[in-house]
Point group: C2
Chain length 158, copies 2
């Protein structure tokens, strides 16, 4: 990853409002109809997709499996992605949850440490889906006091 | 993510040989027996776990679902992780594969674009597992001409 591939998006509750970008489709319309993992252009860079590394601090409801699954499903819906498979696991004794949603456009994952109020997520989306749309959903679901979002543009050299 | 959280590990076939680091357990031995997602110390930094962002270029066998599943399982074994769930999806018409392995120590994901010879993976592991051990497994499985590995230390502020 080159330094230019990593966009530091800052911290704090207002982060997501400043980071909307245009997605342009790098492939033909015909190809877009057949598959959802086509390459995109983001910030002028052609890439396989945008990979958001999301850290949520001082959250609530991180041990609630049903709540976390519902949040993941709302992320999929908000981003316009297509859910292919979802799986969550509840750990004992700390109540942490690991969950993954496999998408036609790649995946979303979450791992929570409720005893620390911390959750680590990644949202990787190709094609027409809008991964940024997940951030406000996560803010609403887990009420984090701090959110870090970093974007990696995958496959720039392809 | 601070800049110090991102270690550019270079490219080329010899990358993985230079990047072995010591993992030290940041939690008590008693806690380690109960769960596999405890925080670790890596490069002197206490964190929830190491998240490897792995890009494989000019690969082979990226449309072979069974081969990809076997490679993921070998990654889990090599890293000393515990597999909880695995799911792979075969896309048409390009033959690309999306796969996720949910671990007691977090997850591994792969998304392949066989028409471009490109695969995007991430390996997130907490606890005692060694995510670096996945890299030589992936080199052997997919024969990439170029491998980029970047490490993000998640949850440093917790």
């Amino acid at each position: 990853m080159s330094q230019t591939a990593l966009f530091q998006l800052g911290t704090g509750l207002e982060t997501s409002t400043a980071r909307k970008e245009d997605f342009a489709i790098a492939t033909s319309a015909a190809m877009a109809e057949e598959r959802d993992d086509h390459f995109v252009v983001r910030n002028g860079v052609r890439c396989a997709g945008a990979h958001l590394i999301i850290d949520l601090y001082d959250c609530e409801k991180l041990a609630d499996l049903d709540h976390i699954e519902a949040a993941l499903r709302r992320c999929v819906e908000a981003s316009g992605a297509t859910l292919l498979h979802i799986h969550l696991h509840h750990f004992e004794p700390n109540g942490g949850v690991s969950g993954v949603a496999v998408l036609a456009e790649s995946h979303i994952s979450i791992h929570s440490w409720p005893e620390n109020g911390y959750a680590a997520l990644d949202v990787f989306m190709c094609g027409n889906a809008d991964p940024d749309a997940c951030v406000p959903v996560l803010r609403e679901a887990f009420k984090p006091q701090r959110v870090d979002v970093n974007v990696i543009l995958r496959g720039q050299s392809v």
